[in-house]
Symmetry: C2
Subunit: 398 residues, 2 copies
Amino acid sequence: MPQISQKGQMMPESPIRKLVPFADAAKARGIKVYHLNIGQPDIETPEIALNAVRNFSGNVVEYSHSAGILSYRKKLCSYYETVGINITPDDIIVGTGASEAILFAMQSTMDEGDEIIIPEPFYANYNGFAINSGIKVVPIPSFIEDGFALPPIAEFEKAITNKTKAILLCNPNNPTGYLYSREELEVVKEIVLKHDLFLISDEVYREFVYDGHEHFSVMNLDGLENHVILIDSVSKRYSACGFRIGAMISRNKEVMSTAMKFAQARLSPPTFGQIAAEAAIDTAESYFVKVMDEYLQRRNIVYQKINAIEGAFCPNPKGAFYAVARLPIDNSDKFCRWMLEEFEFEGATVMMAPATGFYATKGRGMDEVRISYVLNVNDLSKSMDVLKEALKVYPGRK
Amino acid sequence: MPQISQKGQMMPESPIRKLVPFADAAKARGIKVYHLNIGQPDIETPEIALNAVRNFSGNVVEYSHSAGILSYRKKLCSYYETVGINITPDDIIVGTGASEAILFAMQSTMDEGDEIIIPEPFYANYNGFAINSGIKVVPIPSFIEDGFALPPIAEFEKAITNKTKAILLCNPNNPTGYLYSREELEVVKEIVLKHDLFLISDEVYREFVYDGHEHFSVMNLDGLENHVILIDSVSKRYSACGFRIGAMISRNKEVMSTAMKFAQARLSPPTFGQIAAEAAIDTAESYFVKVMDEYLQRRNIVYQKINAIEGAFCPNPKGAFYAVARLPIDNSDKFCRWMLEEFEFEGATVMMAPATGFYATKGRGMDEVRISYVLNVNDLSKSMDVLKEALKVYPGRK
């Protein structure tokens, strides 16, 4: 029997998926499982987007342009204008989700053995995309004590080698909910220029920003036109994860023409998803007002209820819909599994993501979990109560 | 300015796309361009598939399972049963087109520097997927004189090194239209077993088989359960290229669990496309009868009209909707460009794909073009007349 690839052996299992069988077993026992483990929002996809697909009047569902339907890319430019980013349709390659856009960005800029610096904890799938692309993730630490702020410049300098090709940021951050400030990004800019690196910025949670903070995009860092690659997605903005529509955006012509060769090889992004995403750009402002209000309430519940638990701590997330919480536990993998296998409170339990999966450094995140606040206020509040009760009786409590 | 990747520099430009600007210029001059250059059929997508999306009744378009919606994978099993292939939903990972399925197959089985043997001419994007995956394509020659039949076993043996991990076949073949017989595949089986290789078979044109020939799938080669990976797509079967729905199929559990890690990293294939593809499985038999009849007529026109041109030759394609024709020309790249830039007959010209792009061996395919017979009988017939006239006056005629 022929052997699978070493690359395949190295690919990590999703830190979330490995708990799925235990959640399924809990459900089979009749237990209500609150899912705070994934970034699948319960918010409705805008009707205007769904209707665009429902009203599809073509006879043949054709390949689109490899960079995405031109009318969609034009309309995307108008969307970006509303968030202060000025680009042209040629600066955009529509990807099959941000996932594909990240792969395009990595493959266009990095070769086997090259290194990418990412502050940890970070979105676990970056690991998979890096292994897929043959590149090495070099983590630099951010800490829960200061809300997971940008690591100091010295940490970047320590991590840089002659193999370093890029820095990857997620802003607002998944899993921490941290929002990098303009000042922090200006610091990153200096490092990027000094070492002539690419700066890849995953800004799929751009709209999810609280307490009057403002999101500042790396696209607006002057003088980085040839360094910045923006990763985007419609999945979270319109609660449209199943569209599988994202984008890779850059003003660097060479990067874009290189990425286009990868895009052409796979022919095109999904046509229906693009049609829906194009229509979604006309979503009424009232939709977002309502959604943001809902997420703000949820964020407040998580922040307040976690911090009210003895021995637990959670920084106040400024963006996205995640929080990393420190809990008085020995081992977050064990704890999250125990919650599903052995605990229930009033017939319910909670599924969370152990934070270990978001750290590249072994041993970090052992007493932290990621909470996705993607449930309605009532369910979320109950989940927090269940968590509180669980921590009272968890055998590995510290 | 940071440098793009070597991988990106190596990525080939699509042999078809580089002619697009010349086609656009011809259209701008008011010339009708018959597109025989791409595999985008003009056939209507089945109404039943379109209606499934038009009737979408959900409120949230969610991620699907990373391997694809379970009900779709179950239904796919019933489809495969009708074509004599017995599999379970666990043997299937739904991909974003065959493109992604090929990437999953390569990445799960091969590492940087590994080699894959492919009879040439072959589908040009295999090159891109191989470069993307860091693997080396080792071409072995097939020839127009014998209709591009399977190269003799000695050619495979000559090409095999200690780096060889797989053989890739496309059956029926794009670009040649050749249909490998069961006997030929039994020969491949012996090589695969002798050298313990993977056999990746791209069978997306399974239904497009003419003259009473029958398609034999590698899935039915006994004893190759752990070696065979089937690549499939709904793009051609249902004229649904824009769905971006394909599949990677294997009975090798280790390969599938490895591929699942790549699939999980990118979350899921497109939801709308899967909904449409699931419904498409119920397409009435009459649709296929009509479509096959149409393609048969088209194939006959191409075959007869090309062979009626002095100095031209085209084997009779047994499957798919492509033919590779030998023309009395000096250079197919020059000729195809000349057709767009300098020639017209009664206000029209023809866009074809130079066959050079389908050969990995430099210098092969110089007097060959690929013709996709994706236009209606009238347009196709006119295209052939235009081609005939062009060959009368082409300055590089041999």
